[in-house]
Amino acid sequence: METIALEIDGKRVTVASGSTILAAAEKAGTDIPVLCYFEHTSSKGLCRLCVVEVEGATTMQPACVALAQNDSIIQTRSENIDRIRRTILEMLASTVDLSESPDLLEMLLDYDAVPERFQGGKQLLPDLIDDNPVFIRDYAKCVMCWRCVQVCAEDAQYAFAINFGGRGFETSIATFFGKAMPETTCVFCGQCVGVCPSGALKAKTEHLLELGALPEEIFSETRMRRKSKRRRT
């Protein structure tokens, strides 16, 4: 195996050629914050929280997708990097509900983020969608990491039940014409729920338990709904 050596925050590390900066940093014991990055989905470099400074590069590099280069010298924290991370976190926290994103809440503290500076700005807080017996969709908590769309498509299930709605700031996760989940090609595999990092997708049972429902109520509700479930043929 071909290896390369580089320096991350002053620490020398040797990794396999073709490793990302993120992987190299992990090996060096350096923690780079990530949001959209997930080991089991293809990296899209969306959130940019993982940007780092590579000596000699003209722009900051997203560590999750940028490959580590031999002999490069990388800084994972600096005033400039922190400024970017803080601003992204502030914009995100002022847009959606991060109450069920403990990692992000911790990051907000770590970077001294003050989301209140964007108070009064547009927020994305749609109503919770409860349209099937398996899971609920609470997009007010969606951080747009794309993982659900990815696992629903080529990254895992090939069900293609969800994609995007809108554009720009208003980009959302959507089904065909906003249809209820049972009327889509969803196979209720639950993978999207499993990869959601922010509590936007949640098992129906968990949701009902949080609401204080009794086990027999939960059972009856999910069973009733299952009987009436319509599936595309």
Partner: protein, 569 residues
């Protein structure tokens, strides 16, 4: 799906039969064509399209939601699209929009829409009435769409020496013989008969031509990279998605000299070793599309496209693709995604288009003006090209003058002239100048005191500016600069694709802060937040849109710190 049973799919079958390969890449053309006879893209219609092209319904929905010219709910048979871009906005386009909207409020056959920039800035205020570009709209007299204003022509073209625009306006763009009579296809003939592909690349490199769409990458080098990339298939793509506010030069070239664009593409194809080229033209340029489609068909019939071009071994053909209302698709990788039938999300780079471009194949993508300049260079030689301009910025460049200038239009001038000289060519300022936007919405402002700035890549870079797409947009003292900044902020928030976080949220928050500032309600903290947003977008966005979304506003705040009344409390 009871709706499907009643929907007559006859028109769709005809549309599908016109497409040789029924797969994902046909999606956007089929959607655009299908909504004409059917009025809009209904569920039943999309079900049929999804089945025919094998595209999941959720993904089709995602595509429709991305592009403003695709409609999944009923719309009028007729459209009036009023431009509210920065140039039109300062001559009353919002009042026009309001008036037209009121006029048609009860008329379900006509849909009135706002477009962020129609790139008819030389004829502002402008609108697109169905497929007819209308300009110089008189705010007072408005009745029927026909009375809105007259169809605009090619527009004014200036410049003492005209290389790329010499045929524009003087030939019939529909007539291939007119083109041939004025040295048309001389470059292609020279390339095919006297040069090997590496010779063409050598000549291009020697010319010093760089991309004239804004990115300024050396064209010869780009072709060489694509030619050397390992692959059995390569593509040429012509970027005719001109949507940068203040820019209209590519429209003039495409409408005025379509064969020259095709000639440039064909030469590029020969140099790179591509058999197929795509020309992607924004959806709001229906007239340019019509002219180009005619040119493609005529050139094919006359043996300038297709197999064994001019009796050589070389085979090359061009397909026209329409955009569907998304500024971001002018970004090269977003454009590829669009041709492939997807939402126009820019890709991560690397890999670069010259190795992994359209359909993941090596691709040379060039702007319209760049390809026309390439044809000129192969016809006249690199030395002739270098005889004008500066050492580092050789040749002539098309500049787009608009706003408060006596004669708005496209001006073809040598690199190295000053802004003052260019303004003089345009007949001077209208009124007392206040600010000049240089390079486009993604550019920077300059002050009237800075008119001796030299228009070349190297001089502008030194001064902290960029040439962008060649925009010179003048704002005089009668206008409120704050409105212009608001217009720019609104533009970017509307056009951000929503992929990367810095741009998706940054363009929105930038717009909100400028909106607050225009109302006199922004405080010092808001401007500090704006600085952070700009820094974040510039240094961490995926593509050029986010990287430059704050530069014009940032430069204005730097030049005129008092433009907004700041509440220091």
């Amino acid at each position: 799906m009871s709706e499907a049973e009643v929907l007559d799919l006859g028109d769709l079958e005809i549309i599908l039969s016109r497409h040789s390969s029924l797969d994902r890449q046909a999606l956007i053309p089929v959607l655009l064509e299908a909504q004409k006879p059917y009025g809009y893209l209904s569920e039943a219609l999309l079900l049929a399209i999804g089945q025919a092209l094998r595209v999941p319904l959720a993904e089709i929905h995602g595509v429709i939601e991305f592009y403003t010219l695709l409609y999944n709910e009923p719309v009028g048979k007729h459209f009036i699209r009023v431009c509210t871009g920065p140039v039109c906005a300062q001559v009353g386009s919002h009042q026009i929009l309001e008036k037209v909207s009121q006029q048609y409020i009860a008329d379900s056959t006509t849909t009135v829409e706002e477009v962020p920039c129609l790139c008819l800035c030389d004829n502002a205020p402008a609108a697109l009435v169905d497929e007819v570009p209308i300009g110089n709209i008189d705010r007072g007299a408005m009745g029927t769409p026909g009375e809105l204003g007259r169809e605009v022509g090619l527009g004014f073209i200036g410049g003492e020496e005209r290389w790329l625009t010499k045929r524009c306006g003087s030939v019939n763009p529909e007539d291939i013989d007119d083109f041939i009579a004025l040295e048309g296809f001389a470059a292609l003939r020279r390339a095919l008969e006297k040069m090997q592909p590496p010779d063409v690349i050598r000549e291009m490199k020697a010319s010093g031509l760089v991309g004239l769409g804004g990115a300024a990458f050396p064209t010869g080098l780009k072709w060489e990279f694509a030619a050397n990339a390992e692959s059995d298939t390569r593509y040429i793509v012509c970027n005719g998605d001109e949507s940068e506010p203040g820019t209209f030069k590519d429209r003039v070239l495409m409408e005025g000299d379509p064969y020259s664009v095709l000639e440039g593409m064909t030469i590029a194809g020969y140099a790179v070793g591509a058999k197929k080229g795509y020309i992607y033209v924004r959806g709001e340029y229906p007239r340019a599309q019509k002219i180009l489609q005619n040119a493609i068909e005529t050139a094919r019939r006359m043996g300038y496209l297709g197999e064994n071009i001019l009796g050589s071994e070389f085979t090359f053909d061009v397909e026209l693709r329409s955009g569907a209302g998304a500024y971001i698709c002018g970004e090269e990788t977003a454009l590829f995604e669009s041709i492939e039938g997807k939402r126009g999300f820019p890709r991560l780079k690397p890999p670069y288009p010259t190795t992994h471009g359209l359909f993941d194949k090596p691709t040379a993508i060039n702007n319209v003006e760049t390809l026309c300049a390439s044809a000129w260079i192969i016809a006249n030689g690199a030395a002739a090209y270098r005889a004008r301009g500066t050492d580092e910025s050789p040749g002539l460049k098309l500049f787009c003058l608009s706003g408060d200038i006596v004669q708005a239009g496209v001006y073809e001038v040598p690199f190295g002239i000053t802004i003052a000289e260019l303004i003089e060519l345009g007949g001077g300022f209208k009124g007392e100048p206040q600010a000049i936007l240089l390079g486009g919405a993604a550019g920077t402002f300059v002050r009237p005191e800075d008119l001796d700035l030299v228009l070349s890549f190297e001089d502008l870079k030194k001064a902290g500016h960029s040439l962008g797409s060649g925009v010179i947009f003048v704002i005089n003292q009668e206008h409120d600069l704050r409105s212009s900044l608001l217009s720019l902020a609104e533009f970017f928030s509307h056009e951000s694709c929503g992929k990367c976080f810095p741009c998706r949220m940054g363009t929105q928050r930038q717009f909100e802060i400028i909106e607050k500032a225009v109302q006199g309600e922004a405080n010092k903290a808001d401007f500090l937040a704006l600085d952070d947003i700009r820094y974040t977008m510039t240094n961490s966005s995926i593509c050029g849109l986010g990287i430059t979304a704050g530069t014009a506003i940032g430069s204005a705040l730097e030049l005129w710190p008092d433009v907004f009344a700041v509440d220091h409390g």
